[in-house]
Chain length 155, copies 2
Amino acid sequence: MGGINCNVVDPSDEEAIRGVLTAYVDFWNSHEMAGLAELFTKDAEWINIVGMHWRGREAIIKAHDVYHRTMFQKVTLAVESIELRAVAENVVVAAMVVRAGAFTPPDGVPRPSTRDRLSLVLAKRVAGWRIVLGHNTVIDERAAPFDPVNSGWTG
Amino acid sequence: MGGINCNVVDPSDEEAIRGVLTAYVDFWNSHEMAGLAELFTKDAEWINIVGMHWRGREAIIKAHDVYHRTMFQKVTLAVESIELRAVAENVVVAAMVVRAGAFTPPDGVPRPSTRDRLSLVLAKRVAGWRIVLGHNTVIDERAAPFDPVNSGWTG
């Protein structure tokens, strides 16, 4: 199992992986769907902040395309932090926090700017590192004081 | 890279992985923290429905323990669906939907029963399949009609 248990990502892999994550945010901000598509494996899956589940690159890009032509037209993401962890040979888990701008979803109820926490699983393919899973959650800042680990809340 | 691209999980692995996921729900429902701990790798990470990030098995269990002695004392989960996909040698991504009972978090605002969508990444270790990442999001049923993929919304 080699270096699996030490969770260390090889420096050359780390550079490539951070490049994919940066490209994700850059393509997102410039609404470049063809660029985004290149970052995912064909079988990739995505779960968004309201729990929608998109199976396959084609579905992920279709959904992003519709939302970027509507509610995300003027929204941008800004990376706050990225943490990488190797979990198996050629598989890395990224924990990324972004600041997302305010927008109004189709239900018409405006959403303020939020901090969002993404899990991204990347696998090394012949063509390089690609995203095989993305899962995104809005950070509820009101809940943070009740975090037993990071705020020491004990009930 | 062998069978990576076909995403098929070996039947014997599938049985073991479904066993881990079932055990997760069973131990959750019976508040058995020692049992839960056995399902995770030491370096596992968890991101909960309000975006808290717990790093390492010890932190995950500490947080679960505090919440199960307080707001989750009378809450149960019921599995609605599980989908498995192999993404690399010895790494499987599970998409699981559960029905979670109503509860009142520390902020005092009652939450109704919800359907939650979990991503779980499992890796095969010497001791067997273990969870290396869990990420959980409440499904917003009001948003579902606006899903470009699963509801055909086009903006």
